[in-house]
């Protein structure tokens, strides 16, 4: 029996702390840049997309937390329902945003993609950390 090595635990805890921060920082920076470069509408759209990316991430983390804290790795019906609801809301939100032309689809997509950039940033940071050790 053994647990994860302390360095790995630290790395995981760090990723848990850093990822949401990266998402927020990128969303704020992206909103500023797109509003400055392409106007207010795109800035607002980017902010909405970034917000969706953050909520989506937080929601999934919460579901995994529920799984882990109940010490029941086998997913329950409620877990499936929660994830299904997240996906359904996201689909409905995107459909309304795109069809009602309330916001710029490009801006929303840009905002949603902050998650990917945040993951890349975290990966590079972890590589940097492990390379330094």
């Amino acid at each position: 029996m053994s647990e994860l090595p302390a360095t790995e635990k630290e790395l995981l805890a760090g990723a848990d702390r850093r990822l949401p921060r990266f998402i927020v920082l990128l969303a704020i920076a992206g909103t500023g840049v797109s509003a400055w470069q392409w106007g207010r509408e795109l800035g607002i759209s980017f902010a909405v997309g970034g917000g969706l990316a953050y909520v989506n991430y937080r929601w999934i983390v919460a579901v995994v937390d529920t799984l882990v804290q109940s010490q029941r790795v086998r997913p329950t019906r409620r877990t499936y329902l929660k994830l299904f609801a997240t996906l359904a809301l996201l689909a409905a939100g995107l459909y309304v945003i795109f069809t009602a032309r309330l916001l710029s689809p490009v801006g929303v997509l840009g905002g949603l993609s902050v998650l990917v950039v945040a993951i890349l940033m975290e990966s590079v940071y972890q590589l940097f950390l492990t390379g330094r050790e």
Binding site: M1, E3, D65, Y80, F84, L87, L94
Partner: protein, 84 residues
Amino acid sequence: MLGTETEAAVAKTQGPSPQPWRQLSFILTVAFVFPAALVIGYGIGWWLDSKLGTRPLLSLLFLGIGFVAALLELFRELKRLDRP
């Protein structure tokens, strides 16, 4: 995020556990795949609609396909998470 109680429980029976990394991988995969599948599905439908003049039929249809694809991926990931 990565519940120490479960980590310890798993470690008791299995030695050093990849479970927390698997959980992180699950979170990142699902967080990425959800919006990506929906956006790609809708994008294909929107493009076909604009070519065929069927708006919003195909947009909705492909959004639905993206939704189902995301769900299937989610179930696959949950199964992987469940695997010891």
